[in-house]
Amino acid sequence: MSRLLGVYAAAVYAFLHLPLIILGVFSFNASRFTVWEGFSLRWYRAALENPQLLEACWNSLLVAAAATLLATALGTLCAYGLWKRRSAPIEAGLYVSLVTPEVVMGISLLAFYQWLFRYFDVRLGMHTVVLAHVTFCLAYVVLVVLARLRTLEPALEEAAMDLGATEWQAFRRVTLPLAGPGIAAAALLCFALSFDDYVITSLVAGVDSETLPMVIYAMARRGVSPVVNAVSTAIVFGLGVFILLAERLRRA
C-alpha cells in the first residue's frame, strides 16, 4: 500500500516537474527547434540584450515588492483583528475577493479606475498595478496569517498584558514574533502571486508598467521562442534562490 503510494507520488511529481525541467534543459539548446544541437547560452544572451525584457523584469520586481509589503502589512493587521473577534462584513469582503475570477476582478478594477479618473487626474501605471495586486493578495495574506494565529494560545496575549504590557505592546512583543513564520509565508506567497499575475495586470497596466508576464505572454503569442525558455528558466531559478535565501534568513 505505502509502496504503491510512493510510486504514485513519484509519478505525480514527475507530472508537476518534468515540463519545467525540459523547458529548462532546452533553454540551453543551440538550436531553436526541439532537436538537441549542443549546449549554448545564446538564448540567455538574447534575453539579456532585450531592453524591453529587462525593464519588464525590473518593473515586476518593483511591483511585487511594493504589493508584498503593503498586502502583508494590511493583511497581517486584518488577520489579527479577525483573530480577536470575527467581523462579518470584512470576512464577506475577503471571501468575495478570494473567489472573484481573475478576469472579473481585473475588469472591475479597470472600470473602477476609469470611473475614478473622471474626477481625479490619475493615470494607469505602476501604482494602479500595485493597488490591484494588493487587492488580490490581501485575502491570501489574511488566510495564511490567520491560520498561523489560530495555532497560538489566546492566553499568551493575556499573559503579556497581565505582566504590564499594553494591548499594542502585547501584539508587538508576543503575537507578532510568534506569527512571524505565517507572515513570512504570506509574504512569499504574495510575492509569487504578484510576480506571476498576467490577467489582472494586463488590464490595469498603463505607461511604464509593463511586467514580465506581459512580455512573456506577448512573446508566447508570437510563437514558441527559446528566448522565452531562457527567461522562464531564469525566473524559476531566481525565485528558487530567493526562496532558499528567505528560508535561510528565517531559520538563522
Binding site: G93, V99, F195
Partner: protein, 276 residues
C-alpha cells in the same frame, strides 16, 4: 473592548470597501447601461444585458465551463489525494516533499502553460520522441483541443488541491486509521470509510480552490485551446475587448460572481471548512 482591533481592521476594511466593493459597484452600474454606437457606455438604463444572458448559447458556454472546470477538479483530486496522503505520511522528509509540490506553484503560470505548448506542439518533445522511437509516423495533434486545456489547468492548479488536503490529512489522527485496520477493515475499506470521510473538509476546500479559478480561466483555453474552446472567462474578456460591449461583459461578470458566491455559500452551509 479592544480599540486596537478596530484600528487594525480599519485599513483592510477600507481597502476592501474601496478596491473590492466599489469596483464591483461600478461594474454593477455598467451592467445596467447600454452599449454606445461604437462601444463605450450610454444611457438608457436597462436590464436587457441580463436578459441576453439567458440565451441558450451563453448557457451552453456556462455548461461547458462547468464541465471543464469540474473535470479538472476531479482530475486534481485523483492526482492530488494520494499525493497528499503520501505527504502526510512521509514523516521526517515532509517539508522537502511539500516544498517540491509548492515549487512549480512559484513558477509563473504563464511559463507553465508555455511549457505545455513547448511539449505538445507537433514538433514538440512528445511528438519528436514518439516519432523517433518509431511508434508514430505522423505527429499527433496534442495541442489545441479540450484535452490540452484540461491538462494545462490540472497542472496549473494541482497545488491548490494538494495543500488543503495535506493540511486535513496531516491532522487526521493516524490511530484512527490503525483502529479501523484493527477492527478488521481491509486497507481499501479503511481508505473509503475512514480516511475519505474524515478528509472531507480538505476535499471541499481544495475542490473550491481549483474549481473557481478554472471556471473563470481564460488564458489556458486561449493558449492551449487554440481559440476553439470558449469558456465564460473568454466570453467576458471578449466583451471588454473585441466586442466592445462593456455593459454585457459587466452583466456576465456579475452573473458569474453571483453563481460562484452561491456555490461558496452552499459549501460553507454544508459544513465545509471555513477558510477564514
Amino acid at each position: 473592548m479592544s480599540r486596537l482591533r478596530s484600528w487594525f481592521l480599519a485599513p483592510a476594511g477600507l481597502w476592501i470597501a474601496f478596491f473590492v466593493a466599489a469596483p464591483l459597484g461600478v461594474v454593477a452600474a455598467y451592467s445596467l447601461l447600454t452599449r454606445g454606437t461604437y462601444g463605450g457606455l450610454s444611457e438608457p438604463w436597462t436590464l436587457e444585458n441580463y436578459l441576453r444572458l439567458a440565451d441558450p448559447l451563453y448557457l451552453k458556454i456556462l455548461a461547458r465551463s462547468f464541465w471543464i472546470a469540474g473535470l479538472t477538479t476531479l482530475l486534481c483530486l485523483i492526482l492530488g489525494f494520494p499525493l497528499a496522503l503520501f505527504l502526510a505520511r512521509s514523516g521526517e522528509r515532509k517539508h522537502l516533499y511539500l516544498a517540491l509540490v509548492i515549487l512549480p506553484f512559484w513558477t509563473s503560470y504563464l511559463v507553465r502553460t508555455y511549457a505545455w505548448m513547448f511539449l505538445l506542439r507537433d514538433t514538440g518533445l512528445v511528438n519528436t520522441l514518439l516519432i523517433e522511437a518509431g511508434w508514430l509516423e505522423r505527429p499527433l495533434a496534442l495541442l489545441y483541443n479540450d484535452g490540452a486545456v484540461i491538462l494545462g489547468l490540472v497542472h496549473g492548479h494541482l497545488p491548490y488541491m494538494v495543500l488543503p488536503l495535506f493540511a486535513t490529512l496531516e491532522r487526521l489522527d493516524r490511530s484512527l486509521v490503525e483502529a479501523a485496520g484493527d477492527l478488521g477493515a481491509p486497507p481499501r475499506e479503511t481508505f473509503f470509510r475512514v480516511v475519505v470521510p474524515l478528509a472531507r473538509p480538505g476535499i471541499a476546500a481544495g475542490s473550491l480552490l481549483v474549481f473557481i479559478p478554472c471556471l473563470g480561466a481564460f488564458l489556458t483555453p486561449d493558449l492551449l485551446g487554440g481559440g476553439k474552446t470558449v469558456m465564460i472567462g473568454n466570453l467576458i474578456q471578449n466583451q471588454f475587448t473585441a466586442a466592445r460591449d462593456w455593459p454585457f461583459g459587466a452583466a456576465a461578470s456579475l452573473a458569474l460572481m453571483v453563481l460562484v458566491m452561491l456555490m461558496l455559500g452552499l459549501l460553507l452551509r454544508r459544513g465545509g471548512e471555513r477558510f477564514l
